[in-house]
């Protein structure tokens, strides 16, 4: 089982306590009504889907219940770093 470091609990916790929340750092448009269909589609559906380091949201659902962000390698499934919601993606996490 993978252990994930929760930045709020400040400890490594078992994977089954967590749920995945999709790509991180996608801000909801402040005025959706001002967007055309293509822009709204891009916000809703278009994701980077990289091979390698991916910044993504996770929720410690069966722990502290908080959302946080993680950089995970989509090839190895290895968690490189986790950080609190609102913090920027750490520099130098990509290999």
């Amino acid at each position: 089982m993978i252990l994930i470091h929760c930045p709020y609990c400040e400890e490594d916790r078992p994977e089954v306590e967590f749920t995945y929340g999709g790509e991180a750092h996608i801000a909801r448009p402040l005025d959706p009504g001002a967007l055309d269909d293509r822009q709204w589609e891009t916000y809703l559906y278009i994701r980077r889907n990289p091979r390698g380091a991916h910044a993504e949201r996770w929720r410690h659902a069966h722990g502290c219940a908080r959302f946080f962000n993680a950089v995970r390698d989509t090839v190895t499934d290895r968690f490189e770093v986790t950080y609190k919601t609102g913090e920027p993606r750490p520099a130098g996490d990509t290999k």
Binding site: M1, C9, E11, R13, H60, H62, G63, C64, A65, R66
Partner: protein
């Protein structure tokens, strides 16, 4: 405030009986029993100091610990397990959530040298490192629970009422 019937707090039909069960895991004895009825609070606040003042209680600092009947489940969430008759202070106009949820969950105790091993049968945490004073939400098999370590070989397990009969059976199997 909503009055909660005493039966809702105390009574729980565990289907397979609710008498304490003593078993063993790896030869280490352990007893599973329903916990005494308790008052339960759900407490939410961005500012822990404000909540502490409103309650007139010292709250546990670290996420994952309990102190004086209150566990810090997350940075903005606490759960109280307090003696029957304890009442929430009447506070209004403050950015706090303080709700009596006494009937929402029930408690079990696991006590004895086999308590850690019994929990480990269904809980993915490293329970052996879970020392007195620790408390957290986690899972047992597929059911969400809270475990509070009260002493090296004594744990309080908190579970939502509708899952309680299942968990009681699962724990009985784990120590049987």
């Amino acid at each position: 405030m909503l009055e909660i019937a005493p039966m809702a707090v105390a009574g729980i039909d565990l289907k397979r009986g609710s008498q304490p069960i003593t078993g063993a895991v790896y030869g280490l004895p352990v007893t599973l029993a329903p916990a005494a009825p308790l008052v339960r609070w759900s407490l939410r606040a961005k500012d822990a100091a404000l909540l502490s003042v409103a309650l007139g209680r010292t709250l546990p600092d670290r996420v994952g610990t309990h102190h004086d009947g209150i566990a810090r489940l997350g940075p903005d969430e606490w759960h109280g397990l307090l003696p029957l008759g304890t009442t929430l202070p009447a506070v209004s106009g403050q950015p706090l959530g303080m709700v009596d949820v006494s009937a929402r969950s029930v408690g079990f105790t696991l006590e004895g040298p086999g308590a850690v091993a019994a929990l480990t049968r269904g809980c993915p945490l490293d329970v052996a490192k879970f020392t007195p004073g620790r408390a957290t939400r986690t899972v047992f098999e597929t059911v969400e629970i809270q475990i509070w370590c009260l002493a090296p070989d004594r744990f309080h397990v908190e579970v939502w009422r509708s899952f309680a009969p299942w968990l009681w059976h699962a724990l009985a199997e784990a120590i049987g």
